[in-house]
Symmetry: C2
Subunit: 436 residues, 2 copies
Amino acid sequence: MVIPENPFAHYTPRPLEIVDTTLREGQQTSLLHDYGKYFFPPEDKQEILQALILYGVKFVELFAPVVSPREAEDFEVLKAARDALIPQRGYTFLLAHVRAHPADVEAAIQAGFDGLNMYMGTSPQSRTYNHGKALDEIARRARSLLEDLRRNHPHLILRFSGEDAFRTPLDDLYRVYDEVAPLVDRLGMPDTVGVATPSQVSERVGALHARYPRTALETHFHNDRGFALLNALRAVQAGAQYVNTTVLGIGERSGITSLTALLFNLFVDGCYDHLEGYHLRASYPLNVLLADKLKTLVPFQEPVSLTNRTHTAGVHQGAVLRHASVYEAHPLELFGVSERDTLLGPLSGWNMIHYFLREIHYFDLDEATARRITRRFKAVVYEQTAEHSPAEVLLRLAEEEFNLRRRVETPPSQAPAIIQHWQVDAHPHTPSITVP
Amino acid sequence: MVIPENPFAHYTPRPLEIVDTTLREGQQTSLLHDYGKYFFPPEDKQEILQALILYGVKFVELFAPVVSPREAEDFEVLKAARDALIPQRGYTFLLAHVRAHPADVEAAIQAGFDGLNMYMGTSPQSRTYNHGKALDEIARRARSLLEDLRRNHPHLILRFSGEDAFRTPLDDLYRVYDEVAPLVDRLGMPDTVGVATPSQVSERVGALHARYPRTALETHFHNDRGFALLNALRAVQAGAQYVNTTVLGIGERSGITSLTALLFNLFVDGCYDHLEGYHLRASYPLNVLLADKLKTLVPFQEPVSLTNRTHTAGVHQGAVLRHASVYEAHPLELFGVSERDTLLGPLSGWNMIHYFLREIHYFDLDEATARRITRRFKAVVYEQTAEHSPAEVLLRLAEEEFNLRRRVETPPSQAPAIIQHWQVDAHPHTPSITVP
């Protein structure tokens, strides 16, 4: 098989390169088991890859072909999808996540990957209980494997990572990285077990950046402590150019850094140069796409979500009806959250109920009536939600008990049910810059 | 109505006092709408309150009675449940979340709350678009209301919060807090719209701590940027003694700081003095209780979760079978996560399959056979999971295709299905301290 020249030689990396690993690390989420799905079928993978490419992601990590024959076949499908979407080829690079074993590496090269995200455990835990190799042997093996690769496949993108790098003493990491740094495009800094704190990230990424100034750094943060997002932001500040993410932050255990949460926070912090080439308005659709594939909702903790424009408390709803900025601080419309929700329920106040009946359902009523209906609604809604949504309870009250009539008849199919949407108006805090 | 003396006068607050607001802020989560539940019925509330009390939480925030007649009635139930659990009374204080309106305040006092978490918007957004009051008027109203309260109800626990405090210029906050600080037990610092960063939290909490050294500070962080956990940790470091949390971090929009995530991280950081009186081993059961009430799973992002001891990738499963510490860094068993899961699925390797068949299902097989079965399993599991779990696929393969026989017959009802549990052994990283 002829290995074609890799167009990475002609690509100038941007200030921030996302290495998205939704289709590798993300497939390790227990959610796929919780929802009885177990894996992403090739159609799903293809759709996710296409969405990532259109979003502006240039590096996508996949399983090595040795993981299973199915993963090997799927790579053919994904490569074809990538090539079909990018006729000029080469602008999104497909990388194999491989152990530093010659056989695994060879299979990935034969399959036609553009590069290798190679790893080997360097922490005392990995060395003692997993592969059992000493540091010198790790350094020697990695160096020899990488020398061969550089000689025989000079255009392959190469990363080497000391797995569990944040439990590896810095001197041990230097011992290995000093050997491999001249041979790779990137050195990885994975926090495999989620122990790193933001200040440790600043310190360690800064130290590696100073020691290997000509080699790009790539980071990968697990969320075991809940720090994966902050750690990635700190890594970018400290000079990491490549950051591993997944859509929604899914992954083994508590997952890793969420792609859209990272870019959203860089935007809020005004780091616009790091957002070059990312299609930010596609952020929320991308999150919805993945949630749909997982058969779940966009998690409520995800910053780029409709949840973050959803208001349930009466005082919030009342204020947001007057001016959204009172309870919304961030320009989420630039990230594709184009609507706003107020959830009609037991906590809604008279102003929301007035708005809902008058503006959405065209009832004729004044504020005093809205206040009276609200008192009745709060008296009965708690008993009736087992069979009816709060909106149904309210509409029945209005028509049957208060004899309210609609000014305009709307067909029931057009009437919004529980959730009421309205268009997001120009946000007072939108910075006056042009976003890619 | 006679207002009994509040035992808070005889209570010495601990270094960290959780003010849990699952039953107030938590009820504002959109998850209650997403799962068609809308509110916590009184039985649920009672169970959650009892769990919080047993966990060691001494301050629980509830809705003010004005929110609805139902919330007012529920308070009677909760107060009775508290009193039944604590015969000597007074060791968990029930606080009403009230607007700084005389009528709201009066209703809460009449209902018999132990204290008031009073708030009024101080940010420019609140003042301009919500209540429309100038700073001087806010300060004057708050001061006069609090003076009356101190005079007429000297034993009431009082907090005053400038709502949206992190969008309020510091001088504006001082303008109001200088007036009220001598009158309250605590000054609140709510990040109502989730704009604060960890460094801003350190700075601002530090500044207030220096200006009001005799008044305790209480913080409340929303998760719109994903920083609610880190911000709370920083606030504790900077001198905040009271922190608002909810179980699982639920709340309006992306929620607030998770109770167990906060305590878990303080433990990992060695801040043992802040954990005085919290029953940490009840952390995971508390999370499961709330997830069950919400009809959902413990979120994968929650640090205190079985997810964080769940392994899906083949290399992780293989290593964890040898020694858990390779892919588990934290002593979660001290937080009640007493089991470990490995999810048998397409990513499992031969060592996991060998373990599953031999140790769990008592089949007689050697490693070479396990490797052959694994190849077949990976060839067929992708096609069969629509009707069967991966474990069912594997057991059929073993019995029907490989003719393996069990050494011991186990009744099918005892055979674990998808998930395989085993007891967590003593963790090599467990610090040798005694935890309350």
